[in-house]
Amino acid sequence: MDFFVQLFTDPVAFWNSHTLLIAQIGINSIIASSMFIALYSGQLSLAAPGFMAIGAYTAVLMDLYWHTPLALNIAAGVVLAGATGVLVGLPVLRLRGVFLAIATIGFIEALRLGVILNLPITGEGLGLKNVNPDPLGGIYLVLVSLAVVLFLVWRLTKGRLGTAWAAIRQDELAALSQGINVARYKIIAFVLSAVLAGFGGALESHLQTFIDPGDQQYGVTRAVQILSFAVLGGSGHFLGPVVGALVVTSLPWIFVQAQNYINIVTGLFLIAVIVFRPQGIVGRGGLTIIKPWWWPRRNVSAPSPG
């Protein structure tokens, strides 16, 4: 409860003591928005951590070897992530549902285990030291980026592109028969989501002193976590992933007394939200509550024949 008390009574002290948390929420929101674009176009892609890794390693390595400015590093990371997005997105274009999810898991694990852990330049399994980190000052960059990303995602989903994505998500065959170039719009969404993930990864690496190639950072565990942000927050509205990232990332700070059991709290929270609001926190409709079979109900008399 201290979390909320401080948030409302002393926002300045809250900002100072929770800067890292706020920055992490911002990063997670950007990456969750990347997953949102994929989901919005009906693609259950879990490739985000792979593109994050590409963005992060590109930015840090350019800084390390060429001492280029931050903006250029991030831009290079984003471009490389987008290019990889085209290479990965084209072959998986015809896959749907969990098939796409598993193929993208194959991509991120092949990248992490096969490439990152084996290249001498990425520090192999030991990780990579970031020589110019900015854990505290980077927060302004993160928040401004988040605002820009959210504005773009909002405009995109409201525009022609978003309408096409929504049509594809609801019924790919119907969209095709309406003359929508399904393949083109799907690849646009996939690459945009790769670009956003690469951007998020590059930003995140700027805040960290150390790039760790672990499962929690660029593996399946991270992918599943990002998916939970997007779905829990609501994958039908552009603010949903942000709300999901905000709530799930701050859970350990809200339930600080339950520190050891925080994963149990998070698990219960995920199940409760998804069971009572399958559409996510942000979205139409109220709580769905279904009475258990033993609950007394009104007598509904079936019309008797004759």
Binding site: G106, E109, A110, Y261, G267, I271, V275
Partner: protein, 304 residues
């Protein structure tokens, strides 16, 4: 080299046994049960705890371990899947609820330390433990230059018999016909008078019992039991296996399990330990791109 092939076969048996449960749930419900790897871990952890902390006989602990896993299957169905089915939620919602349950199970074991709330379940926290020697007879034979450990060799017939048994049940019994009917079309199955919810509960029980048993065999043969064995060893590999064999196909999962074992050991021998995992996942990606129905898949509903 022969030793490596033998290793591939026995690790493949564990993959197959784990993946059969995974694929069974996908085949019937079209849902990926992401709590399956947590059940795998729970089976091993409960059995170890019964033997070491509660002083029970190994065979009894195994039976209870499988029973605990089966009950967890019911929990998955009643907590994570059935409420969502009632609400006609999209399949993606079930991913999140099963992830939530997996988080809870892993955290409960991880936090099981002497004096903590979960001490009755597990006392070794996140540490890795092994069954003490002498828990079960484990003679070692030497045939030529092969080393055969009974605990590892036993896995092969156990899993083959179980998978054949499951195949028989699905193919030839009344229950199996019910399962296949629900997999084909739940609505039609219901109209034909089948209790669909019951069939789905049964699917989860069978699947989780097999997953838990795979965990017990893994723990007994490899001597490595900790809260993360599900996540580290079988979660993603299980996905690779069911894709290789074809989503929802039980014989496919069996062949896929052995195939993945061979691919991994082959990559290990030729490329060294760290690249091996990368090769397996690159194979998974290529398999999906080139042949999404897998080697034995018949269900193409999710594909264009």
């Amino acid at each position: 080299m022969d030793q490596q092939i033998l290793n591939a076969i026995f690790i493949g048996s564990i993959y197959a046994l784990f993946a059969v449960g995974y694929t069974l749930v996908f085949g019937v419900l079209d849902i990926l049960n992401l709590a399956h790897s947590a059940v795998f871990m729970l089976g091993a952890a409960a059995t170890y705890s019964l033997v070491v902390n509660h002083g029970q006989a190994f065979w009894l602990a195994c039976i209870v371990g499988v029973a605990v896993s089966a009950v967890m299957g019911l929990v998955i169905e009643h907590v994570c899947l059935r409420p969502l089915r009632r609400r006609k939620a999209p399949p993606i919602a079930a991913l999140i609820s099963t992830i939530g349950l997996a988080l809870i199970i892993v955290a409960a074991i991880e936090q099981g330390q002497t004096g903590s709330f979960f001490a009755w379940l597990w006392v070794d926290g996140p540490n890795s433990v092994a069954f003490p020697p002498g828990t079960f007879p484990n003679p070692t034979w030497h045939v030529g230059d092969l080393t055969l450990e009974a605990a590892k060799v036993a896995i092969i017939p156990i899993s083959v018999v179980l998978m054949l048994g499951l195949g028989y049940v699905i193919r030839y019994t009344q229950v199996g016909r019910g399962l296949r009917a629900v997999a084909e079309n739940p609505r039609a199955a219901q109209l034909m008078g089948l209790d669909v919810d019951r069939m789905i509960s049964l699917t989860l029980v069978i699947s989780s019992a097999l997953g838990g048993l795979a965990g017990i065999l893994f723990g007994a043969a490899l001597g490595d039991i900790n809260p993360y064995i599900g996540r580290d060893y079988v979660e993603v590999r299980g996905l690779a296996v069911i894709v290789l064999g074809g989503m929802g196909s039980v014989p496919g999962a069996v062949v896929g399990g052995y195939l993945l074992g061979l691919i991994e050991v082959g990559a290990l021998v030729t490329l060294g330990s760290s690249a091996g995992g990368g090769v397996a996942f690159a194979a998974l990606f290529l398999m999906l791109v080139l042949r999404p129905q897998g080697l034995f898949g018949a269900q193409l509903r999710e594909r264009i």
